[in-house]
């Protein structure tokens, strides 16, 4: 297993947001985490990236315990996140944002290679290379956030709501790219409210409800699960 969460709990002050979540992500998989607002999806992502300390439980990555590892060192180990709300640096140009993604790396030739790769995945970003991140449209910012997260050459890519606020056409496109990134060899853990898309693209998925995992299965299984259909896919 590339990533293993073992009964992790996390609290904001006195309010516990995650109550002992366990999940695994295998090498090469796309795993989706679906659930309603406030279910704890983003909190789980923040815990994996090391932005919030756990109150109990353990996180293992690539065979090693990273529960207490600093956030910046997790990036070095190969965890990268495209955060909720995109977290674009508004005053930096598109290129500078991408370079920021390669902050932990030193090899200039490799970084340039990855810049080309990001521009290849998102030709739109190439057109906007010198433009400030803050002036981009929502869709462009999303592409930039994903492209930037790839710049650290992660083993595990965490995508928090990549489809949020995007037009339907763009949602299709961004999921196509996610699949493409995965096929190029990057393992992906995906948080989504757009359950339809997430489940049809993911190998496996977990359903999160008020800080607990209530269901898990392959994407196809959950897509046809009556309870999931009812709660997250909208009744047709």
């Amino acid at each position: 297993m590339l990533l293993e969460l073992e009964k992790i709990s996390l609290a904001y002050g006195r309010i516990e947001a995650l109550h002992g979540i366990s999940l695994t992500v295998g090498q090469g998989e796309v795993v989706a985490l679906i659930g309603a607002n406030g279910a704890g999806k983003s909190t789980t992502m923040r815990a994996i990236s090391g932005l919030r300390p756990l109150s109990s439980g353990a996180i293992r990555f690539d065979g090693q315990d990273i529960t207490r590892l600093r956030a910046d060192l997790r990036v070095v180990r190969g965890v990268s996140q495209s955060p909720e709300g995109r977290g674009i640096f508004p005053g930096m140009s598109v290129r500078e944002n991408l370079e920021m993604g390669a902050y932990t790396r030193r090899n200039r030739a490799e970084i340039d290679e990855d810049l080309d790769r990001a521009f290849g995945l998102f030709p739109r970003l190439k057109e906007r290379e010198k433009q400030s991140g803050g002036t981009l449209s929502g869709g462009e910012q999303q592409m930039l956030a994903v492209g930037r997260a790839l710049m650290s050459r992660p083993k595990l890519l965490l995508l928090d709501e990549p489809s949020m606020g995007l037009a339907p056409m763009l949602i299709q496109q961004i999921f196509d790219i996610i699949v493409e990134i995965n096929q190029q060899g990057t393992t992906i853990l995906l948080v989504e409210q757009n359950a339809q898309q997430a489940l049809s693209r993911a190998h496996r998925a977990y359903v999160l409800e008020t800080g607990r995992i209530v269901k898990e299965g392959t994407g196809a299984e959950l897509l046809h699960d009556p309870a999931v259909k009812d709660a997250y896919l909208g009744v047709a």
Partner: protein, 376 residues
């Protein structure tokens, strides 16, 4: 250089592409920029003789305070603005207690040199010998303030820094060792003789101004190099989005501490110069108002931009000094200096909210934040 430039179809991301003086300057080859910078520095050294320029000169120089002294005041205000600009402008950490570091620098010098100091029998050092120790003390103070405030953001950080400066002032006011209002007398001046005469005397402030200028130029170079390095990139990322910076692998705690201690160091430089020129310091110099004034200077000049900080720092010292000794209808304008000054700041902030010489990135960040407050 108007604010609307960022909102047009193809926004300019670099001042190099834009018009105006900065646009022109940015497009020049390195040697032209070097010559222009040198010329500007040379002109700055000639500032004490501005009064000799026919017609305009006498309008510019101060009346109620001798011009070289006003220039020296400007020089340490500029230093403070440069230092605060690192903390507030670069790293985005709102520090309302910056005067604390100025105080540590000045008191550090005083306690090691003045005959009033409890340490006098042990130390009684020359000014220059006290400088490195005083500066080390300010950097340490920066770390001491920085460490517990690392987890704080925005308003909370501002309040803690405010408290920090007040603690220093109150300790200075109420302890025997720091002598409160009585202060420290006989702090030695900087060393050096020229043609058998002491350079840094009591009557002539010009050498002090020049010394301040040399220090300012050194600070500009130091900060500029930092800003263009990985450290500057880290500060920028922290300022624009601290959480995103962390996700990129920036060790935010380390770089915030760097910002605090470098800012403190520069503030301390202002303090040791001040103590060396005045020869006397007491606790009433280091009031809260001082911190607010310097912050106002940085914001007014253009937070995040060194040229802006320099201009802002110079103005917060120059404007009140210029009002000194002018009376209109029997009332001295100096008494109304802060009222008039307040009006000037309000006008500037209405007309140029990003400051007189804005940082382009900051302008972008402000727009971005405005979007968060009122989504489209």
């Amino acid at each position: 250089m108007s604010d609307t430039a960022v909102a047009t179809e193809k926004p300019k991301t670099s001042f190099r592409g834009s018009g105006g003086v900065r646009g022109w300057f940015g497009r020049q080859p390195g040697w032209v920029r070097a010559v222009v910078a040198l010329a500007a520095a040379a002109l700055a050294f000639l500032l004490p003789y501005v009064g000799d320029i026919p017609l305009i000169g006498p309008q510019l120089i101060t009346e109620g305070i001798d011009w070289p002294s006003a220039l020296f005041n400007m020089s340490y205000y500029v230093l403070l603005a440069l230092g605060l600009n690192v903390v507030v402008g670069y790293a985005g950490l709102l520090d309302l207690g910056y005067v604390g570091f100025f105080a540590v620098g000045a008191y550090g010098t005083a306690i090691l040199t003045s005959k009033d100091s409890v340490l006098y029998s042990h130390t009684g050092w020359a000014w220059l010998a006290a400088v490195p120790v005083a500066l080390a003390a300010t950097m340490l103070a920066g770390l001491i303030l920085g460490w517990p405030t690392l987890r704080l953001r925005g308003d909370y950080l501002a309040i803690v820094t405010l408290g920090f400066a007040e603690i220093i002032r109150i300790v200075a006011t109420n302890t025997q060792t720091f002598r409160g209002d009585r202060g420290f007398t006989g702090i030695p001046h900087p060393p050096g003789t020229w043609n058998g005469k002491v350079i840094f005397g009591v009557t002539d402030a010009i050498p002090y101004f020049w010394l301040g200028l040399v220090v300012i130029i050194a600070v500009i170079f130091g900060v500029r190099n930092l800003d263009r390095s990985r450290v500057g990139r880290s500060w920028l990322a922290i300022r624009e989005d601290e959480e995103a910076a962390e996700i990129m692998g920036v060790r935010t705690t380390k770089f915030k501490l760097w910002a605090f201690s470098i800012g403190a160091f520069i503030g301390g430089l202002g303090g040791v110069l001040f103590a060396g020129e005045q020869g006397f310091i007491n606790s009433s110099t280091f009031v809260l108002q001082f911190s607010i004034l310097v912050l106002a200077g940085v914001v007014m000049g253009g937070s995040g931009n060194m040229a802006g900080a320099i201009l802002g720092g110079a103005l917060i010292s120059y404007i009140p000094d210029r009002l000194r000794g002018i009376s209109v209808g029997g009332t001295d304008l100096y008494e109304y200096r802060f009222a008039m000054f307040g009006v000037v700041i309000i006008i500037i902030m209405i007309l140029r909210p990003q400051g007189l010489i804005p940082s382009r990135r900051r302008a972008m960040e402000l727009k971005d934040r405005a979007k968060e407050v009122a989504p489209l």
